[in-house]
Symmetry: C2
Subunit: 145 residues, 2 copies
């Protein structure tokens, strides 16, 4: 990621932060591109990264019984993936695999958690955004969208 | 609610708070009991209260098309209801109706929001708990539970 905190304002989560706070986020974030079939993270593995999807689509898979992982959801632009990396026990609770080429902002979860604990205004702001996104996801799941 | 902040430790959300912080929450919380059929809140109405369900079951309803509200989910003990009362534009995004007699902790959303903004450690702590609960709800919805 270019060392430009202003670029972060394109992400709703960081818009309300001060420039100093965005500068701190910039240190642990980078823009990355992944191709169809790439596995972003796996169920039960340590939650090392949080992803904000800029373009493309990602499928969410679960191990149901002893079968191969089953697709249970698909998420697109603007979604945040890997939220469980911020919540104790800091392990992913699903597997995420790219359904198309994607562009994403990748944040290192461990320093992000520490930053959010140290500056709880950053923590509060980012979590508010995550809650909004999770509520939208629940609405869509309930309505079968 | 008895003016006893210690009682709040029975709720996971408040366990990590200091006694002073719990005291502040006590001022805007009370235990209430509602009966089968009681509507806790309605879709699109201003989000005035947050509910932590202690016992019983609540159905979640949506207006799908022009029909009567349809049940799209049911939630039970330990669940937090009315989370959208904490998120801009502070309106409920569903209707919640008691499926049984319920016991619940009722929190006044407006002073709670102000408290969470003013003391972002309280805000951060409660949000973390809400995120955990929403992630569990998403997991259950995805797995069709």
């Amino acid at each position: 990621m270019p060392n430009d905190p202003y670029k972060l304002t394109q992400y709703a989560c960081f818009r309300t932060l001060t420039e100093d706070q965005r500068q701190a986020i910039t240190q642990l974030a980078r823009e990355e591109c992944f191709y169809t079939g790439h596995i972003l993270f796996q169920d039960e593995k340590p939650g090392t990264h949080l992803y904000i999807l800029t373009t493309g689509e990602v499928e969410v898979l679960y191990n149901v019984g002893r079968k191969d992982p089953t697709q249970v959801d698909a998420v697109g632009e603007g979604e945040i993936l890997g939220c469980s990396s911020l919540i104790d026990p800091y392990r992913y609770s699903s597997t995420a695999r790219c359904l198309s080429k994607i562009e994403t902002l990748v944040l290192d979860a461990d320093p992000l958690r520490k930053l959010m604990e140290k500056d709880c205004q950053i923590g509060y702001s980012i979590q508010k955004c995550i809650i909004q996104m999770l509520l939208d996801r629940i609405l869509n799941l309930r309505l079968g969208k």
